[in-house]
Homo-oligomer: 289 residues x 2
């Protein structure tokens, strides 16, 4: 089964309990709306790719790790879109959770998805219980304090902000967790995989900046030119378009070089480079190839 | 060391990372504000009491379970107090998290406390890794979907609501988790302890109803007569004051009768009864003793 189908199946199974009779139906629908239909699923695909490169001897644990990371990503989007933060109307081509279900259910959907992430891990790692603790810690560090997604978002509330610290927490942390959790789920050490995830996360951030400037709202499913509108830093503004593309490809090469020795390292390196090209908007992917 | 000191120490250690240099300081302070100074700590004390009754062979796991449950309770209060829910100004005698730190940090503090709960479990159960999965599942079921705190809160958004289902999810679930997690942390089965926690949770709900009617704002640190103001059901309204007190004491006796065979069952039974009397406002405790 290909990676995307494994991810969607695991996410559907994880969310099944929230949609059963006996659960409050509005919250079940809001959680489903936050997770489906799928976005790029880039983090869980990365997680499974690393798990496979490390010899994946516990597929259920790897799938649970991948799903947990995607659930946490979806939770953070639901909360980031809230009126008190970005007050965003659209995401993935349709209404944000609070626009579709109200602010109360958007808050609760995020909360319940965070819980579901750890529940999914605990269920998926049942066959390899010694890996659950390290997996839960990798994931918790990526989303909590002092350096996870919530910390990254909280830097937006501070009068002074170190941009590198902010982006590492807000974006890099969950990419690092994707690679580390993939390794840990397969019984390998997580720490050597941090740099791979961090470089890919930076590349993804640059790709996002490029799309924000040159993409179309129809293609992205959300408004473009938002960085300029909100006075946020953008790699295209700082480096120019060619400079930003060069930076993206350099980050991908650095990620490739950081891949530790493992059974499937050659295939993984190829995958990282082809994904980096896919991250560029259509016309530019040709140019960079 | 007595239970309260063990709980406060474990909570302080859990929150230490959020207060370190390098973490966004506002979020660290907001999380601390949500957890300290202490409230009654009734759920973690219950958790430790059950762990002790079950022969507590892994104190670190029991303390982590107790702290995780309290962190989740504090997270739920921070989110319940938000403007989109209760829009509450005061809690535990001072400002609610969003009044003190703003809505953004109140949302993030709740999120980060949920994550910290599972992180604390994973760290605390390191010496007994086989217990982490069952512990994480007990705790996740108590706060997520379909029957945990978030589900309970989400019932408030539904046009029709079964009061028993609502209260079981909103209040009972975390009490049930407190007793079950205490048992699991000590290597015992969790399921036989569910009824004990549920009855104590119901007793606590009745005690809350009584305090809402006859307590003073100064004594409780939050406004009274809120059930009548918000049209919420209240046991005193339904049963009269004497009826509500009788119900509270009957629930305590049912909890006592539900205690499974375990090394410390006699002491635990005595503790449950004395705590039930303490739950009544000062004058009435004498009356009921």
């Amino acid at each position: 089964m290909d990676a995307v189908r494994r991810i969607e199946r695991t996410l559907s199974q994880a969310l099944a309990g929230a949609g059963r009779p006996g659960a409050p139906p509005g919250l079940g629908r809001a959680m489903h709306h936050a997770v489906f239909p799928r976005g790029a699923r880039i983090r869980p695909r990365l997680c499974l790719a690393v798990a496979s490169a490390c010899g994946e001897d516990a597929p259920g644990a790897a799938e649970a790790a991948a799903a947990a990371i995607e659930l946490l990503h979806c939770a953070s989007l639901a909360h980031d879109d809230l009126p008190c933060f970005d007050d965003a109307d659209r995401r993935r081509g349709r209404m944000t959770v609070h626009r579709a279900f109200g602010e109360q259910l958007a808050v609760l959907a995020g909360d319940a998805l965070i819980v579901l992430a750890f529940q999914t891990l605990a269920e998926g790692a049942a066959t390899v219980p010694a890996r659950l603790g390290p997996l839960a810690l990798v994931v918790a560090h990526a989303v909590g304090m002092p350096g996870g997604i919530a910390a990254g978002q909280a830097w937006e509330c501070e009068p002074e902000i170190d941009l590198a610290v902010y982006q590492r927490a807000k974006t890099g942390s969950l990419f690092a967790a994707a690679t580390m959790a993939g390794a840990v789920a397969s019984g390998a050490a997580g720490a050597p995989w941090r740099a791979v995830g961090e470089r890919i996360g930076e590349a993804y951030q640059v790709a996002d900046d490029i799309r924000d400037v040159v993409g179309s709202a129809a293609e992205l499913g959300k408004p473009v030119q938002q960085d300029a509108a909100h006075g946020r830093p953008n790699a295209v503004q700082a480096l120019g378009l060619d400079g930003a593309i060069a930076r993206l490809l350099r980050l991908a090469r650095e990620a490739v070089e950081a891949v530790p020795r493992c059974p499937g390292e050659a295939a993984l390196r190829g995958l990282i480079l082809s994904e980096a090209r896919r991250l560029l908007p259509a016309g530019m992917a040709m140019q960079a190839a």
